[in-house]
C-alpha cells in the first residue's frame, strides 16, 4: 500500500493518547506500551483474520484487546503508579486497530503495520516533548534515570500547552506537518 495513504490511520491511532501526553515521560511510557500492545494485537490479528470473518472477527479483536489491556495494566500497576485513565485510553487506542482494519482492506502487509506504529510512536513522543519543553522550559525523565534539564525559566513557558487545549492545538500542528511530509514521492498525473 502507498505509505502516504497510511497517514489518517497514524493520526487516528494516537488521538486518544494526546490528551494524557503532557510530559515527555508519560508520552514515552504510553508510546512504548502502545507499540507493545499494538504488536501483540497485530500478531494475534493474523490468526483471527484466518479463522473468523465479519462482525465476529471484530468482536474477537475487542475481547482480545480487553484481555491484553487487563493483563498489561495489572502488571504495570504492580511496578508503577499509573494515571487511572491510562488503561481506558490505551484500550480506546488499541480498539481503533480492528475498526481501522474493518474499514479498509488495503492495509495487509506487516511492514505497513510497523510503519503506522513507528510513526505514531514518534509523533506521540514529539507531542509529549514539545508540550513539556515549551510549557515548562525543562525536561524531566525521572523514571528513566534522567534528572531535570532546565533550558529556560518556566515563567517564559507557554502555560496552555500543559492543558488539554494546548495539547490539541499542538497536536493539530504536528498532525499537519505529518500530512505535509510526503512519505513516498508520487509522480504527478495529468488529469483532463
Amino acid at each position: 500500500m502507498n505509505k502516504n495513504n497510511l497517514k489518517p490511520y497514524i493520526l487516528l491511532s494516537i488521538l486518544p493518547l494526546v490528551y494524557l501526553s503532557n510530559t515527555l515521560e508519560i508520552a514515552l511510557f504510553m508510546g512504548i506500551t502502545f507499540i507493545m500492545l499494538a504488536a501483540i494485537v497485530y500478531g494475534a490479528g493474523l490468526l483471527i483474520d484466518k479463522f473468523s470473518v465479519g462482525r465476529m472477527r471484530l468482536y474477537t479483536y475487542i475481547l482480545l484487546v480487553a484481555v491484553v489491556i487487563t493483563m498489561t495494566m495489572t502488571i504495570l500497576n504492580t511496578y508503577f503508579s499509573l494515571n487511572q485513565f491510562m488503561g481506558i485510553y490505551l484500550a480506546l487506542t488499541i480498539f481503533t486497530i480492528p475498526q481501522l482494519k474493518a474499514q479498509t482492506s488495503e492495509i495487509q502487509k506487516p511492514m505497513d503495520y510497523l510503519w503506522v506504529m513507528l510513526i505514531s510512536f514518534v509523533a506521540l513522543i514529539l507531542i509529549g516533548f514539545l508540550r513539556e519543553f515549551l510549557g515548562t522550559g525543562s525536561i524531566t525523565l525521572a523514571a528513566f534515570g534522567v534528572d531535570t534539564i532546565q533550558v529556560f525559566a518556566s515563567r517564559f513557558g507557554i502555560g496552555i500547552l500543559k492543558d488539554n487545549s494546548g495539547g490539541f492545538i499542538l497536536a493539530g500542528f504536528v498532525f499537519a506537518i505529518i500530512q505535509a511530509i510526503p512519505f513516498v514521492k508520487e509522480e504527478p498525473t495529468d488529469v483532463v
Binding site: 484500550a91 492545538i169 493539530g172 500542528f173
Partner: protein
C-alpha cells in the same frame, strides 16, 4: 440541592467534556456536514452509552467488587459493548424506524469512557449525573463541530491542515474558552 445538581450537570457537560478529553471524535470524522444526522447519531450513541453504564454499574457494585474480581472490569465492559451492539442491530432490523444502519454502531469510544465512570468509587447519583452531563456535552459538541466543519468546507485552507489537524486546533480553542468557565462550577 437542585442548584448543585444543575451545577454538576453543567460541569460535566462543559468543563469536563468528553470530546475535549480526546474521546468520541469519530462521531465528527464522518465528513458529515448536515446537523440532523449527527444529532440523531450522537443521541442514539448516548442512549446506548447510558444503558451500558447502568448495567455496568450494577454489575460492578453487586458482582465484581463483592467477589474481588474488579480487575476484570474492562473485559466485562467489552462484553457489554458487544451485547449492546448486537441488540441495536437486532432492533434496527426488526423495527420500521429509520435508524442509522451501521454494524459497529455500539462500539463507539464514548461507550467505553462512560463505563469508566462506574469504575470510580463515587455514589450512584453522582456517577449518573456525571454520565448524563458528559453525554449532553458530547451531543452538543458533536453538533457544534459539525456546524463548524460545514462552514470550513467553503473556506480556503492549506491542504496539510484539512481534516483532523484543523479540527484539533478548533477543539483546542473551544477547550480554551470552556476552561475559562471553570471558576463557575
Amino acid at each position: 440541592m437542585l442548584f448543585s445538581l444543575f451545577s454538576s450537570l453543567l460541569g460535566s457537560a462543559i468543563l469536563s467534556n468528553v470530546i475535549l478529553q480526546g474521546v468520541g471524535l469519530e462521531a465528527v470524522l464522518d465528513r458529515q456536514i448536515r446537523v440532523k444526522p449527527v444529532l440523531i447519531k450522537s443521541t442514539l450513541i448516548s442512549v446506548l452509552a447510558l444503558v451500558v453504564f447502568l448495567i455496568y454499574y450494577v454489575l460492578l457494585k453487586f458482582v465484581l467488587v463483592p467477589i474481588n474480581i474488579a480487575y476484570l472490569s474492562i473485559i466485562v465492559l467489552a462484553l457489554l459493548m458487544i451485547g449492546v451492539n448486537e441488540l441495536y442491530n437486532l432492533v434496527v432490523n426488526k423495527t420500521k424506524f429509520n435508524l442509522p444502519k451501521d454494524e459497529l454502531f455500539g462500539l463507539h469510544s464514548i461507550i467505553i469512557i462512560v463505563g469508566f465512570f462506574g469504575l470510580s468509587t463515587q455514589a450512584f447519583d453522582v456517577a449518573f449525573v456525571s454520565v448524563l452531563g458528559s453525554l449532553i456535552g458530547f451531543i452538543a459538541l458533536s453538533v457544534l463541530l459539525t456546524m463548524i466543519q460545514s462552514r470550513m468546507r467553503v473556506n480556503p485552507l492549506i491542504k496539510a491542515f484539512k481534516g483532523l489537524p484543523i479540527l484539533l486546533i478548533i477543539l483546542g480553542l473551544i477547550a480554551l474558552v470552556l476552561n475559562g468557565l471553570g471558576g463557575l462550577f
